[in-house]
């Protein structure tokens, strides 16, 4: 985990100047520690996702940055100034709330204008900026509607416009897509990403959906029980998960609880050469790293095994196989779609694809 934290800091500094700095921050509600010693940097212009199960503390972290909660220990800095001591209304941070939190007594236009009106902006400027913001989210024609008359996706757009019109340095998004159905969700994901690129605003995005996190983020901060498990780019975190938890949470994997003896790892019927001292070790082997032996040329650095096909899940371009290597050891294998299969087959994987992970 240490190595990945170091490399993620490097990634942050290469993307731009540090905008937000969370320093050794902890948060407890009574005796319950919700966040434990979190240190995290967000670079200017970055799309960073806080990913975790419910109860992992991701929303609390977001609320601390927004100013709705006070840290129990540690500090938050933004652009060189202390942030956590400011009330929420003095932070150059805006939030898109989980259920949008649009003001029901105000029209779409008034909702979007709220932040400017509060700051006593001139009427002409409010008019111009509201129109621009509504056009940006394609909601101009609904300017005079009441929020209750809008669909979830439309409310989402209004919430975005309402937050972005204030030109925040950092936009916080609290599971903004979780209330949308699958198709709309995909569409909004793509629009969000496009918007973020276009505006260059830093996004701090909270989700429990690892697929969404992978698709959108520059970096993912995976939280587990209030602590940072790993912070890295989606590709890095997928290819080199630091822990068994990360490997299982991000994408699908086969966790091989093995025993290393004399340079050979053993797990059930699987045997493959590996470096490292003798003793127990856990490896993560992605389903797509396993192939049919017939498809692969005989090459050094591969491991072979025979297994009986138990289940086959078709999902369009690919299918997932569940195979029994014998002795109740089940492995998941992802292959490109090739029609119904059955019986025993020989499989192969590159030993380099078995990634050693921590418990």
């Amino acid at each position: 985990m240490n190595s990945s934290a170091a490399s993620s800091t490097a990634a942050a500094s290469s993307a731009g100047a540090v905008l937000l700095e969370v320093r050794e921050m902890s948060k407890s509600f009574g005796a319950r520690a919700v966040l434990k010693n979190i240190s995290l940097n967000i670079a200017s212009g970055e799309f960073l996702t806080l990913l975790g199960e419910s109860g992992s503390g991701k929303t609390t972290l977001l609320r601390l940055v927004a100013g709705f909660e006070q840290p129990t220990a540690g500090a938050i800095w933004m652009s060189g100034g202390r942030l956590d001591t400011l009330p929420p209304y003095k932070r150059r941070v805006n939030t898109v709330f989980q259920n949008y939190a649009l003001f029901p007594h105000l029209s779409v236009r008034e909702n979007v204008a709220y932040g400017l009106r509060v700051k006593k902006t001139s009427a002409t400027e409010i008019g111009n900026r509201v129109e621009k913001a509504l056009r940006m989210v394609k909601m101009l024609e609904f300017a005079d509607s009441q929020p209750s008359k809008l669909s979830g996706g439309q409310q989402q757009r209004v919430a975005l416009a309402r937050a972005l019109i204030n030109r925040p340095l950092l936009l916080l998004l609290d599971e903004p897509l979780s209330a949308l159905d699958a198709n709309l969700r995909k569409q909004m994901q793509s629009e969000l990403k496009a918007l973020q690129r276009e505006l260059g605003i830093t996004f701090l995005f909270v989700t429990h959906d690892q697929e969404e996190a992978m698709a959108l983020s520059d970096r993912i901060a995976l939280l587990r029980n209030g602590a940072l498990e790993q912070v890295a780019s989606p590709r890095e975190i997928y290819a080199h998960p630091a822990t068994a938890y990360t490997a299982q949470f991000i994408g699908q994997t086969n966790l091989l609880r093995s025993e290393i003896m004399d340079g050979t790892a053993r797990c059930g019927v699987l045997r493959w050469p590996t470096e490292g001292p003798s003793g127990p070790a856990i490896f993560s082997l992605r389903p797509e790293a396993i192939r049919f032996a017939s498809d692969a040329a005989l090459a050094p650095g591969t491991a072979r095994f025979r297994a009986l096909l138990q289940q086959q899940f078709f999902s369009g371009a690919s299918e997932l196989l569940e195979v029994n290597c014998g002795g109740g050891q089940l492995l998941r294998v992802r292959i490109s779609a090739r029609g119904p299969l059955s019986g025993e087959h020989e499989f192969v994987f590159s030993t380099g694809d078995a990634i050693r992970v921590q418990e």
Partner: protein, 281 residues
């Protein structure tokens, strides 16, 4: 889906209740207001005489106006007490919320009469308050206006009806989703702006309901003026009571009641429309 007998059975008791205790009395009252009394005997002779008397005699108009003034004062005072209390409880009381809520509710279980008499012992010339003022040498003789005055009536009615104002406002405030308050802060609004732009507008239905309670209940109150009002604190319900009682002029009493009823119905009509205008899903 349901049989006719079932529907009849279910609807009969409320219909009977409304018919016997609402429609019938109101019809009788309405009819009485157009009848007359001659030599102490009720004459079923249709005329507008009662209404003419009502509006030509300054006494009735004066009492009616005073009653409205008192009711309006009570409404204002109980709003000024009830709203901040409800606001504090809903937003800032934290763990003490339940306990404080009970403190507001418990007085409702104490009889109206007991509370009325309690104020009598506090406000009277030999009362607690006057004793205290003299003990502090702020006054040398009892302050007279404390008891038997419109002031005393407003005080007692405010004490009695503030919980009624508090309750709907508190319910309205509790129904405001907290993310809306956070969103307002998030968008740069401080505490005062958030109150004026979000919390107050969203609590208007509760505020109207509370104000209507206080006004309508005060308008028809006759116990508080009887206990602490004196001659200068007489309200319209006391007049109606005496017309139906000692004065034995039911038709005039009925005419006044019809007027009060009209005031209340138009008020309810008005506030209901306002409440609808300010209700949001």
């Amino acid at each position: 889906m349901y049989s006719r007998t079932y529907k009849t059975l279910v609807s009969s008791s409320p219909l009977l209740w409304v018919g016997l205790f609402l429609l019938l009395p109101y019809t009788l009252m309405f009819a009485h207001s157009f009848w007359a009394v001659q030599d102490g005997v009720l004459v079923h002779q249709w005329n507008l005489h009662n209404y003419l008397t009502l509006f030509s005699k300054s006494l009735y108009v004066e009492v009616l106006l005073r009653t409205m003034r008192i009711a309006a004062s009570v409404t204002l005072c109980s709003l000024l007490l009830g709203y901040p209390l409800a606001y504090y409880l809903s937003f800032h009381a934290g763990a003490r919320k339940e306990l404080l809520y009970q403190f507001v509710i418990v007085p409702l279980w104490v009889s109206y009469l007991v509370r009325g008499y309690a104020w009598k012992t506090i406000l009277g010339s030999e009362g607690v308050l006057n004793g205290f003022l003299q003990y502090l040498h702020l006054t040398h003789e009892p302050v007279a206006f404390l008891l038997y005055s419109p002031f005393a009536v407003v005080l007692v009615l405010t004490h009695i009806y503030t919980p009624f104002v508090f309750l709907p406002i508190y319910a309205a405030l509790e129904h405001i989703p907290r993310p809306l308050v956070e969103a307002s802060h998030d968008l740069g609004a401080g505490i005062a702006q958030t109150f004026l732009r979000v919390i107050l507008p969203l609590s208007i239905p509760g505020l109207l309901a509370g104000a209507t309670f206080a006004f309508v209940l005060s308008l028809g109150d006759f116990l508080a003026p009887l206990l602490v009002g004196g001659a200068s604190g007489t309200m319209i319900a006391n007049v109606v009571q005496s017309l139906f009682g000692a004065a034995l002029d039911w038709p005039l009493g009925a005419a006044i009641s019809v007027c009060i009823l009209l005031v209340i119905i138009s008020l309810l009509f008005f506030t209901e429309r306002l409440e609808k205008r300010w209700s949001f899903k």
